[in-house]
C-alpha cells in the first residue's frame, strides 16, 4: 500500500489544527482532534444533494426524479440483514443522516467504541441494498414525510419563495421531492445514482473529537473499496433573470402571518468565493441585524417580532438574501427592508457598523469551534467548496470596508425581489 501523507493545517489565532489526506481509495479524509473531549463525531458525505437532478455522461444527461438523493439516503440505512440504526444501537452510538440541497451525509456521535462505529459507518454507506419491494415501502414513508413538511409554515413560506425566485434552478424543489416525483423512483435508478454519486472521489470523511488520525486511517484501510470510473459532475443550472412573479400567499392554521422576502443575486460564476460569502453575511448583519437602525425601526413600529432573521443563502448557481419572520403587516415590513437596503447600497456602510458586525461574526465563528458536530460540518462544507476549514476565519479577519462596499453595490438590484406570505385562515 502506498504511504499516506498527512497534511497539517493550523490557525494560530484559533488555537486549532487538523490533518487531511487523500486516501488511495480516492476518499478525502480529514481529522480534527479535540483534547479533553469525551465524544467523537464522524460525518461521511457525498457531493450529491437535491439540486443534482441529472447524471451527466459523455452521451448527455439522464434526468432524475426530484427527491432522488433524499430517497437514496433513506434506503442506504437499510441492508440485507441488519439496518444501520440497529447496528449502531449495539454500540450505543447515535446515528443519523440528512440530505440538503448540495449533499447527503451519514453520521454518528459516540462516547465509546469509536473504531467499531466508524467501521459500521464506512461499511453501510458502501453497501447499497435495495429491491423493488423495499423501494415501494419507502415511497409510502417518504410520502408521509413530504406531507408533514406541508403543515410546517416555516418550510412552506421558504419553498414558495424559492419557486418565485428560481424558475429553472432545482433549489426551488422540496428536498424530499413530491409524492408524484418519488413514485417514479425504482431500485434500478437508485443503483445508477449510487454508482455515479457515491464514487469515493466525490465524497469526504470528516471526523472531530476524542480521536486520533491513526484510528481513522486504520478503519479506512480496512474498509474502503476503491471505486473506478469517473466521479460525478455537477450540472450547471444558471438562472440569471429577475423573478417574473413577485408575490405569493397561502392560508394555513397559523395565528400570526409569516413572511419571507428574497433578494436574488445575479451570478457571474456558479460559486461565490469565501470572501464574497463572508462579506454578504457581514453586510446583512450590519444592515438588518439586531444592532441596525432598520431592526430598531421594524421592532418599534410593530412590524416584526424578535423571530426576525436574515440569511445569505447560496450554493451552486444560486445566491440570494432571505429576510423572514412573523409580522401582522408583512407587506409593510418587506417594503421597509427593501427600501432601506436600496438606500444603503447607494450610500455604503457605516464604518462602525461594519466593525461591529465583523467582531460579532468572528466571535460566533470561534464559538463554533467548541462543537465537534459544527466542526465536522464546516470541514465538509469547506472541502466541497475547495477551501480549508480556516478560510472563513482568515476572510473574517482580513476583509475591509472598501471590499464590503464594493460587494454591497452588486448585491441588491432593484426588481430582483419576491415576497412569500403565509396568512391565517379566514374566519368561517
Amino acid at each position: 500500500m502506498t504511504e499516506i501523507i498527512w497534511e497539517e493545517l493550523r490557525d494560530a489565532a484559533l488555537e486549532e489544527g487538523y490533518f487531511r489526506c487523500k486516501h488511495p481509495s480516492g476518499l478525502e479524509i480529514q481529522v480534527l482532534t479535540k483534547p479533553g473531549y469525551s465524544t467523537s463525531y464522524a460525518l461521511f458525505s457525498a457531493k450529491y444533494g437535491s439540486i443534482d437532478t441529472a447524471i451527466l455522461s459523455h452521451g448527455g444527461a439522464r434526468e432524475l426524479p426530484e427527491g432522488t438523493a433524499h430517497f437514496l439516503e433513506h434506503k442506504l440505512f437499510e441492508s440485507e440483514d441488519l439496518d444501520a440504526f440497529a447496528r449502531f444501537a449495539q454500540t450505543g452510538a447515535s446515528a443519523n443522516a440528512f440530505t440538503s440541497f448540495e449533499r447527503t451525509a451519514y453520521l454518528f456521535s459516540c462516547a465509546a467504541h469509536f473504531d467499531k462505529n466508524l467501521a459500521i459507518l464506512l461499511d453501510f454507506v458502501q453497501s447499497p441494498y435495495f429491491t423493488q419491494a423495499t423501494v415501494e415501502k419507502e415511497q409510502g414513508i417518504i410520502g408521509q414525510e413530504i406531507r408533514m413538511y406541508q403543515d410546517n409554515p416555516g418550510w412552506e413560506v421558504m419553498f414558495r419563495l424559492l419557486r418565485l425566485l428560481y424558475r429553472r434552478h432545482p433549489v426551488r424543489v422540496d428536498i424530499a421531492g413530491t409524492e408524484e416525483s418519488i413514485s417514479e423512483i425504482t431500485a434500478e435508478l437508485l443503483h445508477e445514482c449510487y454508482r455515479n454519486f457515491y464514487n469515493l472521489h466525490n465524497m469526504v470523511l470528516c471526523v472531530a473529537g476524542d480521536v486520533a488520525k491513526e484510528a481513522v486511517l486504520q478503519a479506512a484501510n480496512a474498509l474502503l473499496k476503491p471505486t473506478g470510473g469517473e466521479p460525478a459532475k455537477r450540472r450547471r443550472m444558471p438562472d440569471p433573470e429577475a423573478p417574473a412573479q413577485t408575490y405569493t400567499e397561502r392560508r394555513m392554521p397559523v395565528a400570526v402571518p409569516r413572511f419571507m422576502l428574497g433578494w436574488k443575486e445575479a451570478l457571474e460564476q456558479p460559486e461565490l468565493s469565501e470572501e464574497e460569502t463572508v462579506l454578504a453575511d457581514l453586510i446583512l448583519d450590519a444592515l438588518t441585524g439586531e444592532c441596525s437602525a432598520l431592526y430598531e425601526q421594524l421592532l418599534g413600529q410593530g412590524l416584526i417580532n424578535t423571530g426576525f432573521d436574515c440569511e445569505f443563502f447560496s450554493g451552486y448557481d444560486y445566491a440570494c438574501s432571505l429576510f423572514g419572520g412573523e409580522s401582522k403587516q408583512p407587506k409593510q415590513a418587506a417594503a421597509l427592508v427593501e427600501q432601506t437596503l436600496l438606500e444603503a447600497s447607494a450610500k455604503g456602510l457605516d464604518a462602525e457598523d461594519f466593525e461591529c458586525a465583523r467582531k460579532k461574526a468572528y466571535g460566533r465563528l470561534v464559538m463554533e469551534y467548541n462543537d465537534i458536530e459544527d466542526l465536522a460540518l464546516r470541514m465538509t462544507d469547506a472541502y466541497f467548496a475547495g477551501n480549508d476549514l480556516f478560510a472563513r476565519a482568515r476572510a473574517l479577519r482580513d476583509v475591509t470596508l472598501e471590499q464590503a462596499n464594493g460587494r454591497l453595490r452588486r448585491m441588491f438590484r432593484p426588481g430582483w425581489t419576491a415576497l412569500s406570505v403565509i396568512l391565517p385562515l379566514e374566519e368561517e
Partner: protein
C-alpha cells in the same frame, strides 16, 4: 474533569462553577424559579414577561439596540431569555455565551465584562420613576402574545400543550409557562416591577458558570450583588398524582395534511426521585431512540406514524407520547402504542433491547460534557432536587436498573388523556 464548586451566595441563591479549559467560550446561566400557581394568572404572566424585559435593556444600555451593540462588541456574546415550567415550578432564565478572553483579537476582557453585564441586567434595569418604562412593557407584551400565538403554527408543540392543559386542568402543571393571553394583555409597568421585586426576594436562584477563566471574582461579585436584597426564598414542589382516575378523550380539528396524536400518562411516581432511573430507562426502551418499541414497531413495522416518541417529565410524574399520524389511522396507532407499553409490562422485551437502551442513554449522557451549554443545563436540575449529580453518577444509576424494575415501572404507568389534533382536508382555498 476538574471539581465542581458549589457556593451558597445568599439565602436561596446557589452558585455552581464548572471549570472547563477545553472550550473557547464561557457559559453563564441565571435560573430563577417561583411556584407556578392556579388562580394567579396576572402574577404568572408578569413573571413570564420578566426575563425578556430584563434581557432587552438596562440602566447602562437603555434601549434594545444599545444593548445589542454592546453584545456585538463583546464578540457576539449571545444573550437569551427563557421561560419554562419544571414540574410545577415556573423557571425564568437568562443565559449568556461569550468568547474566552484568549481569542479576543485586541486583548479585551470579555468574560469579566459579561459577568458584570448579566448582574447589571438583573439588579439595575432601566426604571423611570421606580417603574419599567411603559414602551418597554408594551413591547414585551406584544412579543409575548405573538410568541404564544405563533405556537399555533407548530403543531407538535401546540398539541403537546393542549394535552397537558386537558390532562392537568385542575393542577398548576396544566398552565402555560408563558401565561394566558388575557392576563398578558392586562399587564402594567406596576405588575412588571412587582415581578422583579418578587424574583429578587423570593425566587430560588441558581447561577451556573462553565468557563476556563478564573472565577473567584465572579463568586464575589454575585455575593455582593445579592447582599443588599432581603431574601425569603419560596418553597418549590409539584403535586404528584400516582395513577389516572378516569380517561379523557379529546379530538379537535384543523385544516392540516397530517394529524398529531398525544397520549398523556401518569407515571406512577410520588416524587421526582421515585424509581427515576427505572422510569427513565423504561421510557427510553418504550419510545426513545430508533431502537425503541415505538420506533421499531409502530413506525417501522406497522407504518402507522411518521414519528412516535415518549418522554418522561420526572418533576411532575407524567409521561407523554407524541406521534404524527394519518387521521384515519389515529385509533389504530393509539391502540398500538398502548399495546407496546403493555408488552413491556408483561416482560416482552429482550435483555439485548434493555442493554441497548442503557448503552444509548449513557452514551448520550456522556456527550453532555462536550458542550458548554449542555454542561450548564445538566446541573440546572439541582435547583429542583438539591443534588448535583454528575453524568457519571446518573449513568451508574441507569446501568444498575434490573429487568424486574423495568416491568414494575411499566405496570405503574396509566393512561390519563388522549388528545388528537385531527386533519380536516381541503381548508386551503388559495392553493
Amino acid at each position: 474533569m476538574p471539581q465542581l464548586q458549589i457556593h451558597e451566595a445568599a439565602p436561596g441563591v446557589t452558585l455552581c462553577v464548572i471549570p472547563a479549559e477545553r472550550f473557547k467560550t464561557s457559559r453563564l446561566v441565571l435560573q430563577m424559579a417561583l411556584p407556578l400557581r392556579r388562580g394567579q394568572a396576572r402574577e404568572t404572566a408578569a413573571n413570564a414577561m420578566l426575563p425578556f424585559l430584563l434581557h432587552r435593556s438596562c440602566a447602562a444600555y437603555p434601549t434594545p439596540r444599545a444593548l445589542d451593540c454592546k453584545l456585538a462588541s463583546l464578540y457576539g456574546a449571545n444573550l437569551c431569555a427563557g421561560v419554562t415550567k419544571v414540574g410545577e415550578s415556573h423557571q425564568l432564565s437568562i443565559a449568556l455565551s461569550m468568547l474566552d478572553d484568549r481569542f479576543a483579537l485586541h486583548g479585551e476582557a470579555v468574560s469579566q465584562e459579561g459577568v458584570e453585564l448579566l448582574l447589571e441586567l438583573l439588579f439595575h434595569p432601566r426604571l423611570e420613576g421606580g417603574l419599567f418604562p411603559a414602551d418597554a412593557v408594551e413591547l414585551e407584551k406584544r412579543l409575548l402574545l405573538e410568541k404564544l400565538e405563533s405556537e399555533q403554527g407548530n403543531k407538535r408543540l401546540y398539541a403537546m400543550h393542549r394535552c397537558e392543559e386537558l390532562m392537568c386542568d385542575q393542577e398548576a402543571y396544566g398552565l402555560h409557562a408563558l401565561g394566558e393571553a388575557q392576563a398578558i394583555e392586562a399587564l402594567t409597568p406596576e405588575d412588571a416591577v412587582q415581578a422583579w421585586r418578587r424574583v429578587l426576594s423570593q425566587a430560588r436562584v441558581q447561577i451556573s458558570m462553565v468557563s476556563a477563566a478564573e472565577t473567584a471574582g465572579f463568586a464575589a461579585a454575585v455575593r455582593k450583588s445579592f447582599a443588599e436584597s432581603a431574601r425569603q426564598p419560596a418553597a418549590l414542589g409539584s403535586a404528584f398524582i400516582k395513577s389516572a382516575q378516569e380517561q379523557k378523550f379529546v379530538r379537535e380539528e384543523q385544516p392540516l395534511e397530517q394529524a398529531t396524536l398525544v397520549l398523556g400518562f401518569r407515571a406512577g411516581m410520588e416524587h421526582p426521585e421515585d424509581r427515576q432511573y427505572a422510569l427513565r430507562l423504561m421510557t427510553d426502551l418504550f419510545g426513545g431512540g430508533p431502537y425503541s418499541k415505538l420506533f421499531l414497531n409502530v413506525r417501522e413495522k406497522m407504518s402507522l406514524c411518521y414519528y412516535c416518541r415518549a418522554a418522561l417529565v420526572r418533576h411532575k410524574g407524567v409521561l407523554m407520547v407524541a406521534s404524527g399520524v394519518d387521521t384515519e389511522k389515529a385509533v389504530t396507532a393509539r391502540e398500538a402504542i398502548l399495546d407496546q407499553l403493555a408488552q413491556i409490562g408483561s416482560g416482552c422485551f429482550t435483555d439485548e433491547e434493555l442493554e441497548t437502551a442503557k448503552r444509548s442513554m449513557c452514551d448520550e449522557i456522556r456527550c453532555v460534557a462536550d458542550h458548554p451549554e449542555s454542561l450548564a443545563d445538566w446541573y440546572s436540575s439541582a435547583l429542583y432536587c438539591g443534588e448535583f449529580r454528575s453524568p457519571e453518577q446518573v449513568c451508574a444509576g441507569l446501568e444498575a436498573v434490573t429487568r424486574g424494575e423495568i416491568i414494575e415501572a411499566a405496570r405503574g404507568v396509566s393512561l390519563d388523556t388522549v388528545y388528537l389534533l385531527a386533519a380536516k382536508k381541503g381548508g386551503d382555498a388559495n392553493d
